[in-house]
């Protein structure tokens, strides 16, 4: 055999063995593919079909029922309002907490774990804790009574502002630590040199925050923002524990249609709305906060 023939032979052998090697790989990932199809794809398709089911095949009957419901408008409004108010406050708080930890104060480990505790608390439990505070005979009213104020019905449907504030505070407590943990890890990932360079070149703390840390934190903030927006659209247990149906939110409505009204079709339609707005928000964030610094050289 000549040298070229040998090489060609080798190449052919390689190709053959590569295609044979593919099948065990497929075999190995197939359990997870099957699991994903069973637990994710199939329920999703079933949910979409359920939402668009009508007596004569497919139709918009359930969508019309959902939009026509008196609670739908308030639910959309409340959910959006919660996101618009909650997220900025939450991000400012989380960034401030992360920056404080980044200054390496004494006992920073303790602060970090204390601030991260809410992540470990189930959201229904968190809702019940805050219910114990805000309810008519709760801790807040008894504290206020000692200075001669109140009692105030914080969670009554006649007080939508205080209802909203109570949910806002509880959600802030429960979910800010997630953002903080992401920002802390993001800060730790920024090489010290950038801050030192900015410092040597005369930048004050604020200049460094604005021109060095925040821009370099952008990838972390983007992740946190997408995650938190999606989770905020799904706010349910805390609001349910605090106000029941008095302060409707989108996922709360889904729950009401599914359990109280025994209408899984409209519940599916509502779930689809939540999924759609979450996806739209994530897409928007990815577009708006796109990293333009790594484009190809012109």
């Amino acid at each position: 055999m000549t040298r070229t023939e040998l090489v060609r032979e080798g190449a052919r052998g390689g190709r053959a063995s590569r295609s044979r090697r593919l099948s065990p790989a497929l075999l190995l990932i197939s359990p997870s593919i099957i699991l994903m199809l069973l637990l994710f794809a199939w329920p999703m398709v079933a949910g979409i079909l359920q939402a668009f089911q009508s007596p004569d095949g497919l139709g918009l009957d359930h969508i019309e029922r959902m939009v026509g419901d008196g609670q739908f408008g308030p639910a959309v409004r409340n959910t959006l309002l919660l996101i618009v108010v909650l997220l900025p406050v939450q991000f400012v708080l989380a960034i401030v907490m992360a920056l404080l930890l980044h200054q390496r104060p004494k006992g920073q480990g303790l602060y970090f774990y204390l601030w991260a505790v809410p992540i470990a608390v189930s959201d229904l439990a968190a809702g019940l804790v805050w219910l114990a505070i805000f309810t008519d005979n709760g801790y807040l009213n008894s504290a206020l009574s000692t200075i001669g104020v109140g009692p105030v019905s914080w969670l009554s449907y006649t007080n939508p502002t205080s209802q909203f504030t109570a949910i806002l505070v509880a959600e802030l407590w429960r979910a800010t630590s997630l953002v903080m943990v992401i920002v802390v890890s993001g800060l730790q990932g920024i090489p010290k040199d950038y801050d030192e360079a900015a410092n040597v070149f005369g930048a004050t703390y604020w200049t460094r925050l604005r021109h060095v840390w925040l821009p370099l934190l952008k990838p972390s903030l983007q992740v946190a923002l997408i995650l938190r927006t999606i989770l905020a659209f799904q706010t349910f247990a805390v609001a349910q524990a605090l106000t029941g149906q008095d302060f409707p939110l989108l996922v709360g409505e889904t729950y009401r249609f599914y359990t109280a009204l025994q209408n899984p079709n409209v519940a599916s339609a509502l779930a689809l709305v939540v999924m759609f707005v979450s996806m739209a928000a994530a897409f928007l964030y990815l577009r708006v906060l796109r990293d333009g610094t790594k484009g190809a050289a012109r």
Binding site: P191, V200, F201, G202, H211, K218, T293, K294
Partner: protein
């Protein structure tokens, strides 16, 4: 522009028992280019970072232009710096990177634009001003770091091994360019390096550091020609200085049987160590006053030939012209240029007399 005065600086990093700098004092003249040279861990970068304010000393004082800066934060020292990692901000275009120090100094926009254009021109970055650092090569990023440092009207320019991440050819070219630029702007400069060639070629003066202390401070050629101790001689030069142990007796330094050179009159009898550069030794035809040696290795280097020879069981390097033909195993006779022989105490390694 300003001079730097460093007095009795001590710094021990937390958790270390050995101080990083041991009572260092140093004065850098206004407009001077001072190189801190030493091996890893000698404290040169710590010293630079204390001048920058990025580390605070445990004791001692630093003043720049007569003002005490010892505990002032970096942003109030009016400095500029080139980092080893360049630390060019990845999220800012080249233009905004170069102008960073001007922005923090609240300079008007049109003046920033003018100065950035000037620095970009000087460092051949004009075509890249609107790029992000990720779109530049390592050499270009390095230029951005230098442009950012020279564009500000700082009192002191600090450089922490700025050339160490460049490849050899780029380093050679940029070294000359850097020297020209720094001479042109005339700022007081402190430059840290572990590369002795860089130190000799760039510095007005070189401070050779060892284990947290300055072993020798002087003009590059002085440090090269007259190392204060065997550490400096062994660290500077490629190949490093040769050291040979011998005994002084009867007016001669004797290395072994039949191998000796004349000793200067002032040297007392006893053990001694001599230091001599490879290029100060020549080989010649046999004469009784020369030192016989056996050639171990012959390395032709193009511009010169490097020999490793053995004199009375001690190894030394000899540099000869490439025209001279020598083969290994041969016995040659060495002539030590009398002006270039340095004498050291074999115990302490400290220099005894300037020359023979």
């Amino acid at each position: 522009m300003a001079d730097i005065s460093i007095r009795n600086l001590v710094k021990t990093y937390p958790g270390n028992t050995e101080p990083a700098t041991k009572n260092i004092s140093l004065h850098v003249e206004d407009g001077e280019f001072m190189v801190l040279l030493g091996p890893s861990g000698c404290g040169k970068t710590t010293l630079l970072r204390m001048i920058a304010g990025l580390e605070l000393p445990d004791a001692g004082a630093i003043s720049i232009g007569g003002r005490d800066m010892t505990y002032l934060p970096p942003n109030r020292r009016n400095l500029s710096m080139v980092f080893q990692s360049y630390a060019v901000f990845p999220h800012r275009r080249v233009r905004q990177n170069i102008g960073f120090g001007l922005m923090t100094r609240k300079m008007p926009k049109d003046e920033i634009a003018r100065k950035v254009a000037w620095a970009a021109e000087l460092l051949q970055l004009t075509p890249y001003l609107d790029r992000y650092p990720a779109q530049l090569s390592g050499g270009q990023r390095q230029r951005v770091a230098v442009a950012r440092a020279i564009v500000v009207d700082a009192d002191v320019l600090l450089m922490d091994e700025p050339l160490s991440n460049l490849d050899a050819l780029l380093r050679l070219n940029f070294r000359a360019e850097l020297k020209k630029i720094v001479e042109h702007i005339g700022t007081t400069t402190v430059y840290v390096t572990h590369d002795q060639v860089e130190a000799l070629s760039l510095g007005d003066r070189v401070a050779v550091m060892e284990a947290g202390k300055i072993a020798q401070l002087g003009h590059p050629m002085e440090v090269y020609d007259r190392p204060a101790d065997t550490f400096v001689g062994g660290f500077i030069g490629s190949p490093p200085m040769n050291f040979l142990d011998g005994q002084v007796a009867d007016g001669r330094i004797i290395f072994g049987e039949g191998a000796s050179i004349p000793a200067p009159a002032a040297v007392p009898p006893g053990p001694i160590r001599i230091g001599i550069r490879a290029e100060a030794i020549s080989i010649a035809a046999h004469r009784p006053d020369l030192v016989p040696a056996v050639v171990d290795v012959v390395e032709p280097l193009g511009a010169a030939t490097l020999l490793t020879v053995k004199v009375a069981d001690q190894s030394l390097k000899v540099q000869i012209p490439p025209s001279q033909r020598v083969s290994s195993g041969e016995t040659v006779f060495l002539h030590f240029a009398p002006d270039s022989v340095r004498l050291y105490d074999p115990q302490t390694g400290l220099g005894l007399l300037a020359s023979v």
